[in-house]
Amino acid sequence: MKYNTANYKRIGAAIFIVFFGIMLFISSFFIQRRTSTGLGPDFFPRLIAIVIVLLGGIELVNAVKGYKFLEKNGKLIPIEARKKSLKDLFYDNLDWVSGALIVVYVIGIYYLGFLLPSVIYMFVQILLYTTNKKRNYILYSALSIIIPAVIYYTFRSYFHLMLPVGILG
């Protein structure tokens, strides 16, 4: 019988942590030291790397024990019987969709400046927050333009913060 990937989430995270700790340990050897005596800037990263590997190892053992316990007692989460539609997947992962939107937004600011990406972001994010509500597109459009514009001009004129204008500047 196949099981849901959620069952392996904890084990996977623990393996990643051990791997991260090992990578941190190795990379600490590439830190250039300016002095040959005493503790250098590589000491603390190496110490923390060792602690991370140890803690990750304990967490991995606990995760495997937890998995075995659930398996023995037949409490593992079964795999979904029905394949989810794209729409269901979208709604189930609205947090990640918002995350992706935020990533696009921050990169957008980097290249296009503050105002335009903020207007687009606001509008799309409001739509993502109202997936099961009656939408008022005119109101949302107005708010998506007014709010970033007010923030932009307030910070520019009152706080003298030159928000990025990007390639459109």
Binding site: L55, N62, K65, G66, M122, T131
Partner: protein
């Protein structure tokens, strides 16, 4: 002992038009963030740190203290009217607050919560006034080894904030330390983990890390929650005076004093915050009450215990912040970051080098507390209205403000990109059930820990024995060991109880 001239200077710094205006803005925004479930006073502080750049140190402090007091006090509004605590610090207030509201005594419940929040803050400020200078005076004798021991103690306290899995909390704390390592290393100024990126030479921007992990992750999580239609039923309320009689007030004084002491004590301990103190004091009030059976049915005692304690904790946490430069909880960790960005280094030396600034913190807290009392009663209608403000508009607005905040740190769009990266990171670690509070503490305390460890070892010619050559340091190591032991014991007992009851966590049992 109490420096009256500096206290007067502190009050003079904030008791002017600009100071009062920014304190009022801080308290209002803090109450707003505190009362809306899903937002918190800490988020408000993170969001407003960039605003303090353009303000003088004194006015910046006034704004931040307003946010702190407002943030911790606002949680009671939704706890009582909605049965949803606005912040974790007001969780215990739902036990008796909402039953009172359901009985038609919402006004009395709110009045009790507000007045005793005020008293809790007031008592903690008196403690701050008397304990902080003593502690700072004592800490003047601290050297690198003692500071390392203090930082280590603060880091071990993350174990107590780790929820059900201590190991995950410690790992999270280590990740905070790793984030803090990026950039220029202390003492010898070597570049570390910058990957040739000029933007990383100064390390990750504090605002990007804090708002990313704190606020952005919340915006993403709320998008998913928005699918669940919540019909908010706000209980009606009506104020008549403070809502309770003078006799009832007098009866509650022992309960309030006890809860304030618990709150202050918890606040002074690094790492344990108001989310713990309100529950401890509720339990203690119940255990010492003549009518414990009435707790949970809607009595004043429960609200008095939780609201006095959570506000006292917020004030208590300022004591180690000012006297030792060690944050007591997330809010004070953010305050420490904000003060450092303004070029103020909290710690014992601040008491001698700039006592006016120390007492500006005290004066700001006092004034903010009074503003909170007046505003909570005067503008309750506004805050209740805010409970029904659409999350769909509020959350994206906060995101846009976060970007402005991240940019304002160094006028560098790269910091906005890093804000997004830390937002995703914060979301990811929470998805895997790793707590974020230890990460924040690790990130803030990490540099202090490393710098003092290396300095101490240089002073001791590389010998580890030097770290143990001071009684103060040994005392802090003992406290660190004790805190780990207590957390470990708590987790083991919780797991054993779960085993006996046959309750299986999805995580699997026998966790450390």
């Amino acid at each position: 002992m109490v420096d009256l001239t500096s206290i007067a200077q502190g009050f003079a710094n904030v008791c002017n038009l600009q100071g009062l205006l920014y304190i009022s803005i801080g308290v209002f925004v803090g109450l707003m963030f505190g009362c809306i479930p899903g937002l918190s006073g800490s988020t408000a502080i993170a969001l407003f740190i960039p605003i303090t750049y353009v303000l003088s140190a004194e006015i910046g402090i006034a704004l931040l203290m307003g946010l702190l007091i407002g943030g911790v006090s606002g949680g009671l509004i939704s706890a009582i009217l909605l049965n949803i605590p606005g912040t974790a610090a007001s969780f215990g207030t739902t036990f008796d607050g909402h039953p009172m509201a359901e009985r038609g005594e919402a006004g009395k419940a709110l009045g009790t919560g507000i007045v005793f929040s005020f008293l809790g803050s007031l008592l903690s400020m008196l403690a701050l006034l008397f304990i902080a200078p003593l502690l700072a005076n004592f800490a003047l004798h601290f050297g690198a080894r003692e500071y390392f021991a203090v930082a280590l103690f603060a880091l071990t306290m993350v174990a107590s904030m780790s929820g059900k899995n201590m190991i995950k909390g410690l790992i999270s704390g280590c990740f905070g330390l790793v984030i803090a390592m990026v950039g220029i290393a202390p003492i010898d100024n070597t570049f570390r983990f910058t990957f040739g990126q000029e933007n990383l030479v100064a390390g990750f921007s504090l605002i990007s890390v804090l708002t990313g992990i704190f606020a952005l992750a919340e915006i993403m999580k709320n998008a998913k929650k928005s699918r669940v239609v919540e019909k908010l039923e706000i209980a009606p309320y009506k104020f008549k005076g403070f809502g309770f009689t003078g006799k009832e007030f007098v009866e509650q004084i022992p309960n309030a004093l006890r809860s304030a002491l618990i709150g202050i004590g918890v606040g002074i301990l690094p790492g344990v915050g108001a989310s713990t103190s309100n529950l401890i004091s509720y339990q203690v009030a119940k255990d010492t009450s003549k009518h414990p059976e009435k707790f949970g049915t809607g009595i004043m005692d429960g609200i008095v215990a939780t609201e006095t304690a959570n506000n006292a904790t917020a004030g208590g946490a300022i004591i180690p912040l000012l006297a030792l430069g060690v944050p007591g909880d997330v809010a004070t960790a953010l305050l420490l970051g904000a003060l450092t960005l303004k070029g103020i280094q909290p710690g014992p030396l601040l008491f001698t080098s700039n006592p006016g600034l120390v007492y500006t913190v005290f004066a700001s807290l006092m004034v903010a507390n009074i503003v909170m009392l007046v505003m909570s009663f005067g503008a309750m209608r506004v805050f209740v209205k805010l409970l029904s403000v659409s999350r769909a508009v509020l959350m994206p607005t906060i995101m846009v403000l976060c970007c402005v905040g991240a940019f304002s740190n160094g006028n560098n769009p790269f910091d906005i990109v890093m804000l997004g990266v830390f937002g995703i990171f914060g979301m990811l670690i929470q998805k895997f059930d790793y707590p974020i509070t230890p990460l924040i503490i690790g990130y803030i305390v990490g540099p202090m820990c490393e710098q003092n460890l290396r300095r101490a070892l240089i002073l001791g010619d590389g010998k580890c024995s030097y770290l143990f050559s001071s009684w103060i340091a040994i005392a802090f190591y003992a406290l660190a060991l004790f805190s780990v032991f207590v957390s470990l014991r708590k987790t083991v007992i919780a797991n054993q109880q779960a085993k006996i009851k046959g309750e299986l966590a999805v995580e699997g049992e026998e966790d450390l």
